[in-house]
Symmetry: C3
Subunit: 204 residues, 3 copies
Amino acid sequence: MDFLQIIDILGTIAFAVSGAFSAMEKKLDPFGVIILAFVTAIGGGTLRDILIGNLPVAWLRNDVTASVILAATLITLFFGHHVKQFTKTLFLFDAMGLGLFTIIGVEKGLAMHFSPGICIALGTITACFGGVIRDVLLNNVPLIFHKEIYASACILGAGIYLLLLHMHLPSDWVTIISILVIVVIRIVAMRYKLALPRFYEKNR
Amino acid sequence: MDFLQIIDILGTIAFAVSGAFSAMEKKLDPFGVIILAFVTAIGGGTLRDILIGNLPVAWLRNDVTASVILAATLITLFFGHHVKQFTKTLFLFDAMGLGLFTIIGVEKGLAMHFSPGICIALGTITACFGGVIRDVLLNNVPLIFHKEIYASACILGAGIYLLLLHMHLPSDWVTIISILVIVVIRIVAMRYKLALPRFYEKNR
Amino acid sequence: MDFLQIIDILGTIAFAVSGAFSAMEKKLDPFGVIILAFVTAIGGGTLRDILIGNLPVAWLRNDVTASVILAATLITLFFGHHVKQFTKTLFLFDAMGLGLFTIIGVEKGLAMHFSPGICIALGTITACFGGVIRDVLLNNVPLIFHKEIYASACILGAGIYLLLLHMHLPSDWVTIISILVIVVIRIVAMRYKLALPRFYEKNR
């Protein structure tokens, strides 16, 4: 089991927990919670695999991903009930998953020899579209379109990853540094309520 | 025309009618009704085919599916106006389609040698995600996430199907029994307003 | 660069601008505006390419599409602020994109030897589903389901295209005529607030 597989599983757990929390906050039934956990965890990677034609999508071909998500969701359902810890836990899991999945997406793009811009887009899709599908299913306007710096963190982290890789640093270190960049940006953005400026309004 | 093809067409009709009814209740224009009928009828199977890489998706390659849906929708538009019969008719069609599509999805998974758990998931996706896409397009939180036992019926029916098949019963009988299990669970669940417990709330 | 490629780029610009305008009206942040522009511009074509198995989808394999959308979106963000011109500009861009994309979709269907009905469906999906995904992401019931004649224009234009092609007219002229038919239908429909009748209501 190589390094990329390990961060894949960790990211899957993080996103499943985040999806389960969102569903529990909306008081869905346990089955709805499980579906939302799945969609959040595999939605971005599934969309990426469909777009690049990597079919059947990976989670169909082995039981590991589905088992991990199911276990993480059941644990969340039973032990995630300390309500006041929800917000912070949810946020930290989400930030980690965001960083992990971005890099996995960029990796897949590199493996298919896409251009740097497209690789960054694939990383961002992998990281963000699970959450987008989750929000659509919960009938919300996706958070990433109007909240704190989120996808922008992925874009920046993906860019730094490509840059450091281009400088021939050891790839495990490049991965860790890029993930940390994304996590730190998210923490800082949340802490100081940073959001992208909606600059076109100034022009009105 | 084998048995699997016949239940495919029956399920398609059932779901098209269910989708058309939902759209008519929201007073969409006739084109919107047709689209919703299509999406409900083929959405689950299309998502399944995309996930397993069975492309181009089946309904592009012959006219039968599209013609059947179009005919079913037009008949619904013109003759489905006895409003008070709507609810029960809609429900029965839906339950039948649910059973039929679950088994088709499991079959496809078995044909690709996926594990039992993944086959059950594919059956549930085939049966339920047309309705999920329908609800998303109509701007509702998908019914299956918070209503009576629905996807759970598919999961149980799919499990029974795999079990009976494993016991080497004749496959047509296994199909019929599993579909009936799903239909009966749906009827009982609706009749007695059964829902999955949202058990995590007790812990608060 | 052939004729089909040119109308592809023009349609992409038209839809990106339309998507960006919609997002700006909902006051999304600049990143949300860019995503909505992308989704509106490539959503329909991407869905079509996935359905027919044309993977990896075209816009991953070269940078032109993504660069064009990004440029169009940034220009819209900076210079699209003359609010009162929004509605009409948005409408005209949308009508042009609608016509252009319908014909591209029909072309792809013909290239795969699908039946005329399926080719018309693929044209309509290419033209309309970018807008459907845009509306779903913005948490609206898709416009095309309840507003003026929209998808119907695509269906008619696609039918005329197949008919004229069948009569062996020069294919560039057939393309231009069919696109104009769609644009003119849209303008007339908007001007006179034409909508499809919701005829099933009469029956109640």
